[in-house]
């Protein structure tokens, strides 16, 4: 999942970036309002973490602009102010969640995950597809009861596919959501990770969950899908 981290405090930004990346998020950082505005408009982020007090353009103004421009990305506001009024103003302006400084990193991560789920209309943190169990809260994956160890990026890829299960996701989409601005755009990096993932969750299990749509992208099989032998176009229509 790709996150835009808007925070002017260098130390905090650095720490959060590291923490988020280690959780498998692709993180773009912005140090002031203008930079954040530019990034939010050019990239479709899954979640934006937005500090209120920002140089140049403050967080609330930014949020207003984005909502006005139709950018509906879920926003988590960060602020040093605790008063109820600020929270109300923040939420009324269009923030989806609110966290006051100082905060626990775990809480921030949990709230970001929750926002990611919400952005994909998933309420239950545990996604079940056939015998695959994906616990997005604990970031644990089991297949037929067997725990599967995934690297953060592998997990992120699986999660992204799971959020879009039954739908085809293009390589570009995958790349955009899983890699940050500094990652090199090598076209086959997605295919490499898909192969890794297949080795871990489909190898030795039936049915195969990760499907390849040639010329389009990849798709995670949905429970509602007809048996894999059927024409994939029907599946697409259904989704």
């Amino acid at each position: 999942m790709r996150v835009l981290l808007v925070e002017d405090q260098l130390a905090l930004s650095k720490a959060l970036r590291q923490g988020l990346e280690e959780e498998g998020f692709a993180v773009d950082a912005a140090l002031d309002g203008e930079e954040a505005d530019a990034k939010a408009r050019s990239t479709q982020y899954d979640v934006i973490v937005l500090d209120v007090m920002l140089p140049k353009v403050d967080g609330l103004t930014l949020l207003k602009r984005w909502r006005g421009a139709g950018i509906s990305t879920h926003v988590l506001m960060l602020t040093a102010k605790t008063s109820l009024g600020d929270k109300v103003v923040g939420l009324d302006t269009g923030a989806d969640d609110y966290l006051t400084k100082p905060f626990e990193l775990d809480e921030l991560l949990a709230r970001i995950r929750a926002l990611v789920r919400r952005s994909h209309q998933v309420k239950d943190p545990v996604i079940k597809i056939y015998d695959l169990n994906l616990d997005t809260a604990a970031r644990r994956v089991t297949r037929a009861g067997q725990p599967i160890h995934l690297t953060p990026r592998e997990y992120a890829l699986l999660e992204f596919l799971a959020f879009h299960r039954g739908k085809v996701v293009t390589r570009t989409m995958i790349w955009e959501h899983l890699y940050d601005e500094y990652d090199e755009n090598t076209s086959n990096v997605v295919d490499v990770y898909i192969r890794y993932l297949r080795n871990k969750i489909d190898k030795g299990f039936e049915p195969a969950l990760i499907l390849t749509r040639w010329g389009e992208g990849y798709m995670l099989r949905s429970e509602d899908d007809p048996p894999p032998t059927k024409d994939p176009k029907d599946v697409k229509r259904k989704g």
């Binding site: 920002l54 960060l78 040093a80 905060f103 921030l108």
Partner: protein
Amino acid sequence: MRSTRSLLIVYFLALLAFGLGLGAVLADRVVGEVLAEREKAAAEAIDLRLAERVKSLRDKFDGELLTHARLIGRVARTEYFPQSDAETRQFQKQLIPIYFSGVGPMHGLWAATWQSGIQIPRRGPGPAGSQPSLYWSLVRSYFSNLQLSELFLKPIDNEDREIDYVQINGPFSSRVSRSENLIAAGYSLPHDRRAFDHVLEDWILTDVNLPAGRTGRRVVFKTPLPLPAFGRFSQPAPRSGRNEQVGPNPLPSDPLQLIFIHVARSTTELERRIASYQADAANDKIALKDETRTTIRRVRITLIAIGVAVFLACLLGSSWLIRRGLKPLNALSDAVSRVSEKDFQLAVRREDLSTELQPIHERIAATLEQLKSAFEREKQAVADISHELRTPVASLLATIDVALRKPRTAEQYHQTLSDCRAITRQLGQLVEKVMTLAYLDAGQTKVTPQKVEAVEVAGTCANVIRPLAEAHGLSFTMKADRPVVLETDPDKLREVLTNLLHNAIEYNRPGGRVELNVLSDLVGVHFNIIDTGIGMTPEVREKIFERFYRADPSRTATGVHAGLGLAIVKEYVDRLGGTIDVESEPDVGTTFRVTLPAA
């Protein structure tokens, strides 16, 4: 605690009691004086009336005496004396035997002569020769025959029922006749003919001693008696010399034929009546005094009653009045007591208060306004401080959280720790500034002035700043015209200059310039800190000395400027007795001018 209300009531009532007392005393005095005056006038009237009554009594008494005397005179003239020649002759005839039997041969001769119409010539005013004695012998004998007791002794209109003493004297003071009561007492009233010499009237009233040691009043009435002369009634030789009257003269006109009628009466009864009048007057006066006393008493009682009534009315009225008077005060007090830290509004309108209370209202409202802004400033300060502290704490916590999520290499830990150290240093500096301001606010910052060389102090600051400026790619110059001695706290001054110079670097632009000029004139020593930085708009310039005010929040990203530096500078300059002002133009630069008074 004494309440204003009871105090007012007590004062008011005391004043009222004093006023009423004074009024009552005055009224009493006035009434007393008026009454005394009235009493005096009434007493005078009584005296006057008494005198009048006494006088009228006496006059009446005297009048009665005189009337009596006149009556006797008239009766004597008209009833017992001949009124015509015929009567005279008759009278003479009657007298002859009396004469011969009573007075002797000589008289009888004289009488015969008189009978025969011998004219006895008269000379002078009085009876000549022995004629008068003869004449009066006749008169006396005549009077002896009069029924004096019947006629003359009868009291005339005499309420006293006193019997008057009557005596008749002849022209030569010889006693002619007396009333019986005089005869009985063997007393005759003294007679002095000469008393008439200086009297115009024909009567004289005098006090007189009466028989039996009584005192009385007497009138002596002088009246001519028309006794017929022995001879023809004819006019004596006319003095006018013409108009010889023919025929007898009906009345003799000889002045010698005067008799004096004494009428005396005891004044015992009169005195008794006068005494009774006097007693009446005395009683009247006593009654008057009593009445006055009663009136005074009644006036006093009325005064006291009115006073008590007024006092009671005021006792009730004052409590109401004072409650009413204190109403606006109560309203104000209510409004003040309703003021709380949440609501600094005074819940009463200024226009609703009396003019006396309006200044108080203004003061309270102004004070509340100050309190409110102070309170809000304080709240803002706390919020600002917590805000400023939260961000580094959040950084610290996040950094540590990330580090602890999984095992790290020694290098990573080292990196984390140095990050944490940097953050903690920021935090420390911030806390330092907040504490500095808190100490300044609490008045615990001591200024220890000493004689210092201003240029030297500025020089030390310049030495600290220069490397920093150069590191930022700025040129730094310091200028001073001449050494100047100041009496100030060098530490504070250094702090001020360093702070301002830090700002000048912080808010400068790459390739810019920072200057520190030390000038001195009569006013004092000026330290001018000039930069070629981003400058400020006038709105910003007004607020830069406020705490936690930052023209551009972006600077927090690079420094530890929580908006406290200039607030501290201002406080220090104030403490040093100096002034600070600032000139600035956006995108051109800023000049801070610190002026300290010369030593």
